[in-house]
């Protein structure tokens, strides 16, 4: 404490007045200026309003522009995602084992004729070739349905082995084999028109 009072600078600062009064009252002039706009200010008002509207319009247009740009970018991104999904599905299908051609027989009693088996094998080979050109989802459906038909045929054939004289089972098995052939045949001659196709290849 004693040290502080002994400092000449402290003493000088302490001797200064606490308040300083202005030489004249400025506030009345400021209030007058605020409450009474000048001529220049009055003439600038429409221009300021115009500028405000233009700024608003520009802002609006920028919002529209950015929205449109965002829309385009998101659409492109969605298309890319779809493409990636399709490619993934296609890759998955390629990795999946092909639907096995079951040995066809009537309840294990009678083997199908060699001619029938050859025709079936040829149709199956063509089927496997043609479905590669189809969209992955369609290809998956076809393979699932072919598998269903073959499973049904196997089940009927197995049941027929237990009931060898069952006429209904024989009819249904024959009919299922026919459906299998029809399904295999439904995608043969299937082609889409491309630049490399000949006119005869445009048959579906």
């Amino acid at each position: 404490m004693n040290h502080k009072h002994s400092d000449p600078l402290d003493r000088a600062l302490g001797s200064l007045p606490r308040d300083v009064q202005p030489e004249r009252d400025l506030w009345s002039d400021i209030r007058a200026e605020i409450s009474t706009p000048s001529a220049a200010t009055r003439s600038a008002s429409p221009r300021a309003a115009m500028r405000l509207w233009m700024s608003l319009a520009a802002g609006f247009l920028l919002i529209v522009a950015s929205s449109v740009t965002t829309y385009v970018i998101t659409q492109q991104a969605a298309q890319k995602k779809l493409l990636v999904a399709q490619q993934a599905a296609a890759a998955q299908l390629q990795q999946a084992p092909a639907v096995a051609v079951m040995p066809a027989s009537f309840g294990g009693q009678e083997a199908m004729s060699a001619e029938y088996l050859r025709a079936r094998q040829a149709l199956d080979a063509e089927f496997q070739r043609q479905i590669k050109t189809l969209p992955p989802v369609t290809r998956a459906k076809l393979e699932r349905n072919l598998a269903d038909l073959r499973r049904a045929a196997s089940e009927i054939s197995a049941t027929l082995a237990e009931h060898p004289n069952h006429a209904l089972l024989q009819e249904l098995l024959l009919s299922t084999y026919q459906s299998e052939l029809a399904l295999l045949g439904s995608v043969t001659n299937l082609s889409v028109p491309t630049l490399t196709s000949t006119p005869s290849e445009t048959r579906l």
Partner: protein, 295 residues
């Protein structure tokens, strides 16, 4: 003002970007055609709408998608062919076609990933879709519909016709078809309404059927299911002989005698009876599926 100009140019740039992104070309063509000629339409992806009209002209409005090389239109000897030619199998965009054709034309439509909508075409129709629905109206000419994956909806006009419908995967809805029907599905449910049935052969591997009809005198109905329920509502008067058998399924009938078990050791049922003089024949077979017959 500069701000507006800048903003406007930004907007225009964005719109151009949209135009470039959609990358669609519009093609309009009108060709003279025979009133009873043939029109073939092939489209890989998109929509195909065909409408019949009374002019001797084929009018095409096409929105061609990305990856489409051109719209090939050819006309010769009463035959008009419209092909959307693409650059590759998997990278084409969607192309939409709206085609007006003479009402009595023979129409052939082949699509891969495209829906078909046909209206007011009264000639023969042969429609094929690999993946996509088919919706058409038919009159008295033969029609044939084949889909690998897609729903089929056909509205008839109670005029006799021969109908062939074959789907691998997809539901089928046929209404007001009269005459002869060949219907086959591997997977898909079928709703069929035939005011009068002369001949019908219906076959399904995995799917249910509901058929509402009046059997014509001497009519023939054959239905078969591997895994699926078959249900029939027959309008009176019923004059038919019934032969129904299931390997593993119940038979419920609202008229005639009750079904009997085919074997003591197997779950199958059979029902054979005659209603009226028995002029029509009804034959129904299922492996795993029930049968219901009501009036």
């Amino acid at each position: 003002m500069r701000a507006i100009v800048t903003a406007l140019s930004l907007v225009l740039t964005s719109w151009c970007a949209v135009c470039a992104a959609s990358d669609e070309d519009t093609v309009e063509r009108t060709l003279p055609a025979d009133l009873r000629g043939e029109v073939e339409i092939v489209n890989l992806s998109g929509d195909v709408q065909v409408r019949g009209w009374d002019r001797a002209e084929v009018q095409i409005h096409a929105e061609l998608g990305e990856g489409v090389e051109k719209l090939d239109v050819q006309s010769s000897k009463g035959r008009t062919s419209i092909n959307v030619i693409v650059q590759g199998h998997h990278n084409s965009g969607s192309s939409d076609l709206v085609v007006e054709i003479p009402r009595d034309s023979t129409l052939l439509v082949k699509t891969v990933s495209a829906d078909q909508t046909i209206a007011d075409v009264r000639g023969v129709q042969r429609l094929q879709a690999v993946s996509g629905s088919i919706n058409t109206q038919v009159w008295s000419e033969e029609f044939s519909v084949k889909t690998i994956s897609g729903e089929v909806t056909v509205s008839g006009h109670k005029t006799p016709a021969v109908a062939n419908v074959n789907t691998v995967s997809g539901d089928v809805n046929l209404a007001d078809i009269v005459g002869e029907l060949n219907l086959e599905t591997v997977t898909g449910d079928m709703q069929v309404s035939m005011p009068t049935l002369n001949r019908a052969r219906i076959q399904t591997t995995n799917g249910d059927l509901h058929l509402v009809t009046l059997l014509a005198r001497d009519g023939r109905l054959e239905a078969e299911a591997i895994n699926g329920d078959l249900s029939f509502t027959l309008r009176q008067p019923i004059d038919a002989e019934f032969d129904i058998e299931t390997f593993n399924g119940e038979i419920d009938n609202c008229f005639g005698p009750k079904s009997v078990r085919t074997s003591e050791f197997a779950p199958g049922n059979a029902l054979r009876f005659k209603e009226g003089a028995g002029s029509a024949r009804v034959r129904i077979k299922t492996l795993n599926g029930g049968v219901e017959i009501c009036k």
